[in-house]
């Protein structure tokens, strides 16, 4: 069994829930836009274009188109023949391809603009959300840098909606304790009675666990 296997899915439920929402809501939006765009852009137009009424109109227009061509180019041809029937069918097929292509083009155009807008919104949202995480990391990093330089007065101050406020509070508390501990040690080094001071320092240090302990 993998020792690193996660046993608990929710370690920090509010934080994880917020992240789940941050990912799933945009995905849901994308799906809704895609489904809505496809339905209203393609399917409803297909239903409308190929309604009984419109199909009948197209049938009449197809045969009219052939009649127009015959009247102009070959006026002697009988108006109804197998050839004219096939030509009308060909015209109708051509028209339906034209219509379908136009529907697809229009749906694609419309989806392109919707997705472009959505992309801009999601990009902006990502910056906003990532800022709530990247901001605290930055401040923690700054605080650690200050600590490395030996300045224990450093604290982490986060914005109201930033992630990790409880962690920052605990971190600040720990820092405050360390700061106070070191301040006490510093104060003891200034005492005139060195023997007593060393004894008190030893006593204080005995409460602390470090890598030097056996």
């Amino acid at each position: 069994m993998n020792p690193n296997r996660r046993r608990q899915f929710f370690i920090n439920r509010p934080l994880q829930t917020r992240f789940m929402l941050a990912v799933t809501v945009p995905l849901l939006l994308i799906n809704l836009v895609a489904m809505g765009g496809l339905y209203f852009g393609i399917w409803s137009k297909v239903l409308d274009t190929f309604s009984d009424e419109q199909t009948l109109n197209d049938l009449v227009t197809a045969s009219r188109m052939v009649e127009y061509e015959q009247a102009r180019h070959t006026p002697g041809t009988p108006s109804f023949s197998s050839l004219s029937f096939f030509k009308s069918t060909e015209k109708l097929g051509e028209r339906q391809r034209e219509v379908f292509k136009e529907i697809l083009n229009e749906a694609n155009r419309s989806l392109f603009w919707k997705f472009s807008l959505l992309l801009v919104l999601i990009a902006w949202g990502t910056i906003f959300i990532s800022h709530k995480i990247a901001g605290p990391f930055f401040r923690f990093s700054q605080a650690f840098g200050t600590l490395e330089k030996g300045d224990y007065r450093a604290r982490v101050f986060l914005r109201k909606l930033d992630e990790g406020i409880p962690a920052a509070e605990e971190f600040n508390e720990a820092l405050e304790k360390s700061d106070r501990f070191l301040s006490d040690l510093k104060a003891l080094t200034l005492e005139k009675d060195a023997t007593q001071a060393v004894a008190r320092i030893k006593e204080k240090l005995s409460q602390v666990k470090t890598s030097a302990d056996a």
């Binding site: 009424e53 419109q54 109109n57 197209d58 009449v60 227009t61 197809a62 045969s63 009219r64 188109m65 009649e67 127009y68 015959q70 009247a71 102009r72 180019h73 006026p75 002697g76 108006s79 109804f80 015209k91 051509e94 028209r95 034209e98 136009e102």
Partner: protein, 430 residues
């Protein structure tokens, strides 16, 4: 006082002698004139009703599902200008509609080398039904645009109309031949049909020869065939179908009365063709009760068996008892009396079945009990323009004939001027 009265009557006489009606030897009765005006106004309404408000593109037919016809759109441009000049719509409204349409044609409507596709989507102006970039339909659109521009000189409308005309590469459409090709498609390139014989081609070739940017050589006018035929003593340079519209479309815009094409006057030719067409249908009066002295007009139209190139002789002479009222009406400049009688007859006898909100429906066939339920844009257009020429002082001709392109075409093709009054006097008798 007497002097004043004399002056008044003289002025009145002068005014009447120059009124539109007096240009024609036949003067319709006030009732008939009123009817003709009503038909023109109702026919005009087709274009305001069946043109898209946003794109200006006009439907080929009033039938549901009909696409835009670019030729009908050209007629619509002419119609708005005429409608405003007649006071049926305001000048500003007409200007707005024309501007919208021209902007669509200039910037969005699908075209190839300036030639619009025959059928377009009403809303987008994209090519539909695999139609061809059509030379004749483009010519009809351009003619309508140029005419509309004449009503609004120096405006955006004027500028756009010129741009649309100047963009058309007429020479390209000749495809290296002596004639203008009927069309081009992206799939099969140039169609195997050319405007090489007499029919509605004259307006197209006139605009092509007169083009300031891509003119075709004058031989494109000279070379097309002028086949001569005869029916009942009417000698006609005829179109292969014998359909009346072929003798009318070019004449809607161009006044051929004063133009002599090496001995042929096409105005008189159309008059003879109209008479021959009428007599041809009359020769079948025993077979079809729909044909009579005042019920005639064989031209391409819808019919009981679909759209056909009905026509008279000389020519194809296809007929089955179907009559297209627009055909008889649109010959009104050639045969004013006969056309007026036909209009009166159709209106009085078939008003219930044949007349609607937009004038006469496309056709009918009494013998088969068939009545068209639709109006066709181009048939509405030719009716409107011909009635306008007849009823309103030849206003379309007057405006169109002053176009530089038309002047250039006349000059380059050597169409000799002759006295216009001769033709008018003869035409008025019928």
């Amino acid at each position: 006082m007497l002097k004043r009265l004399t002056c008044f009557f003289l002025a009145l006489l002068l005014a009447f002698s120059f009124s539109p009606a007096s240009l024609w030897a036949f003067e319709p009765s006030p009732e008939d004139r009123e009817l003709l005006n009503k038909i023109e106004k109702d026919t005009f309404q087709y274009f305001t009703r069946f043109s898209d408000k946003l794109t200006g593109l006009t439907k080929d037919s009033s039938r549901a599902g009909s696409p835009t016809s670019v030729a009908a759109t050209g007629f619509a441009l002419a119609a708005y200008a005429i409608g405003a000049s007649r006071g049926w719509i305001t000048r500003d409204y007409a200007y707005g509609r024309i501007l919208t349409t021209l902007q669509m044609l200039r910037h969005k409507a699908a075209h190839q080398e300036g030639f619009f596709y025959h059928f377009l989507d009403n809303k987008t102006g994209k090519r539909v039904w695999g139609s061809e970039a059509s030379s004749i339909d483009t010519a009809l659109a351009v003619a309508g645009a140029l005419l509309a521009a004449q009503y609004y000189p120096g405006t955006e409308v004027d500028k756009l109309a010129r741009e649309i005309y100047e963009r058309v590469n007429w020479k390209w459409m000749m495809n290296g031949s002596d004639f203008i090709c009927m069309g081009w498609t992206p799939e099969s390139k140039f169609l195997p049909y050319y405007w090489d014989s007499y029919n509605e081609l004259m307006l197209l070739v006139a605009l092509a020869v007169g083009s300031p940017t891509f003119p075709v050589p004058p031989r494109a006018w000279e070379r097309w065939l002028r086949p001569e035929g005869d029916f009942n003593g009417h000698k006609v340079v005829y179109a292969s179908t014998g359909a009346l519209f072929t003798y009318q479309f070019s004449h809607a815009y161009i006044d051929f009365r004063g133009l002599d094409d090496r001995g042929i006057n096409f105005f008189e030719n159309s008059r003879e063709a109209t008479l021959a067409n009428r007599e041809y249908s009359l020769s079948f009066a025993g077979k079809y009760k729909g044909y009579s002295e005042s019920s005639w007009g064989l031209s391409s139209s819808v019919g009981p068996g679909g759209y056909k190139a009905y026509g008279g002789k000389p020519g194809g002479g296809i007929q089955d008892g179907t009559i297209a009222p627009y055909a008889a009406l649109s010959s009104i400049v050639f045969t004013p009396e006969l056309s007026t009688k036909a209009a009166r007859f159709f209106y009085d006898h078939y008003q219930q079945e044949l007349y609607g909100n937009f004038g006469f429906k496309d056709a009918f066939n009494v013998d088969k009990g068939w009545w068209a339920t639709e109006y066709l844009g181009i048939d509405q257009g030719i009716t409107l323009l011909m009635l306008e020429n007849y009823l309103n002082g030849e206003s379309v001709w007057k405006k169109f004939m002053t176009l530089p392109a038309v002047k250039k075409w006349i000059e380059l093709t050597g169409l000799n001027s002759r006295s216009a009054s001769t033709a008018v006097a003869t035409s008025g008798a019928l």
